[in-house]
């Protein structure tokens, strides 16, 4: 069974981003970038399926500008077998990404596509669901456990009230939540080996997909900062302030 994983290059989760002075976008110059944390979890799951003898091949796919190759190399170092970059310097919104991924799925014919539940830059939480719709496949979103047996995929999902388990027919889409697994730490030999693994580069034009953005970002702004109120010296002072100043009791 072939497994495909979508990995996005995003601003590292430790970075607190700033808006450009003119509000036209977020300052991305000299900012540390990394693989979207949810996609690391998705790659880890795919690699574990391969190690368990369930997946025969793991293909990592990224869409974006040239530096996404670094992100793909990370996926290869984690254990993916080969990588595909759909190279584009234009802004790719989730619907365009889903359409491009669909075109790649049609070429590669995987039985399972893993994505992150959400990219931590746009926080959209849309791409997996849209890809599933375009392909007409079932979706197991926000997955915290995946079990494959007899051509069926059992997915446990993190939902608002607790957990839910669904059985999906294959081929299927799964989006990874935080507790699906803990991604491995890649060691130097794997990083070296990853440099020799195949990485193909194609373009949206090759795939015949129109990637024009549908949403127009008019402006960005930082929310009004919350001011710290300072520290209280004792529990008694806290209770008194909550009662008399904040009036919450």
């Amino acid at each position: 069974m072939k497994v495909m994983v979508a990995v996005k290059r995003v601003v590292d989760f430790n970075v607190k981003v700033r808006c450009k002075a003119d509000g036209s976008g977020v300052e991305l110059a000299n900012v540390k970038m990394a693989m979207n944390p949810f996609d690391e979890i998705a790659v880890e799951e795919a690699v574990r399926l391969k190690e368990a003898g369930i997946a025969s091949e793991v293909v990592a796919v990224s869409l974006g500008a040239k530096p996404c190759e670094e992100t793909l190399r990370t996926a290869l170092a984690m254990g993916a077998d080969r990588a595909i970059l759909v190279e584009s310097d234009s802004e790719l919104q989730p619907l365009a990404v889903a359409k491009l991924l669909m075109a790649v799925v049609e070429r590669e014919a995987p039985q399972l596509v893993l994505l992150g539940k959400q990219a931590i830059d746009d926080d959209a939480n849309q791409t997996g669901q849209m890809l599933a719709a375009l392909l007409g496949w079932p979706q197991g979103t926000f997955a915290s456990r995946v079990e494959l047996s007899e051509g069926q995929l059992k997915v446990t999902r993190e939902i608002d009230g607790g957990l839910e388990t669904l059985a999906l027919a294959l081929p299927a889409i799964v989006t990874a939540d935080l507790r699906l697994n803990e991604p491995r730490y890649v060691k130097l030999p794997s990083i070296m080996a990853a440099k020799k693994k195949p990485l193909a580069v194609i373009t949206p034009q090759d795939l015949g997909v129109d990637v024009a953005p549908r949403l127009k970002q008019l402006k960005v702004a930082e929310p009004a900062p919350r001011r710290a109120g300072g520290q209280v010296g004792s529990v008694a002072e806290l209770v008194s302030k909550l009662k008399n100043e904040a009036k919450v009791f």
Partner: protein, 316 residues
């Protein structure tokens, strides 16, 4: 303008988030249609029809819709969506699972986590863990939005009398099957509608401490219990307690962060709370930068002391 709202419910009652979503819908349109898809919906239909502003309740009932499976629900919503200019659902795990699937079926780019409606085609939404607010304009003929319940006031369930229309429930596509659901049993208020939330972090150190230190305190305040990701990952609290960028977004009157450092991903979920109290032994913890009242010290001493003083101080 008529707006379609996709109701979230458990076949018996409407979720509070649905009421806030209708509140948001009333900001874009004057007439609201609500889709109720499920099974055995009599009581929910009745309640929904009593919401002022709701003109029509569309009811699709069949066993294949009982568990909210996106595969069966999306074609139903997609078929309806083209008749409206706006389709709204709560930005809950239900809405986020469903709406993008609907959107792709009708070739529309959905807008997630809307926190403000600027005009019928322009919306505000947080990106980068809430560190940036983007204003986005949709060029699609139908706007598909998931809305944050913390940003819109819920509508009351009384006084209205909507028309009820039965719909063709569509087919069971048989692609997915509901197996089981383990809902966290609690008599405490729900996180998204609680007036007070007591959240615990890694500082609690164990699930026993969560039970012994945090729970009595929360119960004394009639509070909901929340947690940081680290506390959930460590098994101190169930997954549905996670507050943050990738968990629940809350905005109670009063939020206690106990043994939580205040990572940006956690702040993303709670920094719109009215009053924030932080209890942490590290005076440099970033949580103090957003707290209205910070108490530096050992939570294992401070929380029980606080509980004791509340009993004396506000007269149980």
């Amino acid at each position: 303008m008529t707006v379609l709202v996709i109701a979230e419910h458990d076949n018996h009652t409407l979720k509070a988030a649905t009421l806030s979503t209708i509140g948001a819908a009333l900001q874009v349109g004057d007439e609201i249609h609500v889709l109720l898809a499920g099974q055995g919906l009599a009581a929910v239909v009745d309640a929904t029809a009593r919401i002022p502003g709701v003109a029509k309740v569309l009811v699709a009932e069949e066993v294949h819709l009982a568990h909210g499976l996106a595969e069966n629900l999306a074609p139903l919503v997609a078929g309806l969506a083209r008749r409206y200019l706006h389709v709204l659902a709560p930005a809950s795990t239900f809405g986020k699972n469903l709406l993008p699937r609907v959107a792709a079926l009708i070739d529309v780019a959905p807008v997630s986590d809307v926190i403000a409606i600027e005009s019928p085609d322009t919306f505000k939404r947080p990106i980068y863990a809430g560190n940036v607010i983007a204003t986005v304009q949709s060029r699609d003929s139908v706007k598909l939005l998931t809305v944050r319940s913390t940003a819109f006031s819920p509508v009351p369930v009384a006084g209205g009398s909507a028309e009820v229309e039965t719909m063709d429930p569509g087919l069971d596509l048989g692609q997915s099957r509901f197996v089981s659901r383990q809902l966290t049993e609690t008599s405490r208020p729900e996180l998204d509608s609680a007036r007070v939330i007591v959240s615990g972090g890694r500082g609690l150190g164990s699930s026993e401490a969560f039970k012994q230190i945090l729970e009595p305190f929360a119960d004394r305040l009639g509070a909901a219990i929340g947690a940081s990701r680290a506390a959930v990952d460590a098994g101190y609290a169930p997954n549905d307690c996670q507050v943050g960028q990738t968990g629940k977004i809350v905005a109670p009157q009063l939020y206690f962060a106990v043994g939580i450092s205040g990572a940006i991903q956690h702040l993303a979920g709670m920094k719109d709370s009215k009053v924030i109290v932080a209890i942490n032994k590290d005076a440099e913890a970033p949580i103090f930068q957003v707290a209205d009242y910070g108490l530096v010290g050992d939570l294992f001493e401070l929380v029980p002391e606080l509980l004791a003083q509340l009993d004396v101080g506000i007269g149980a």
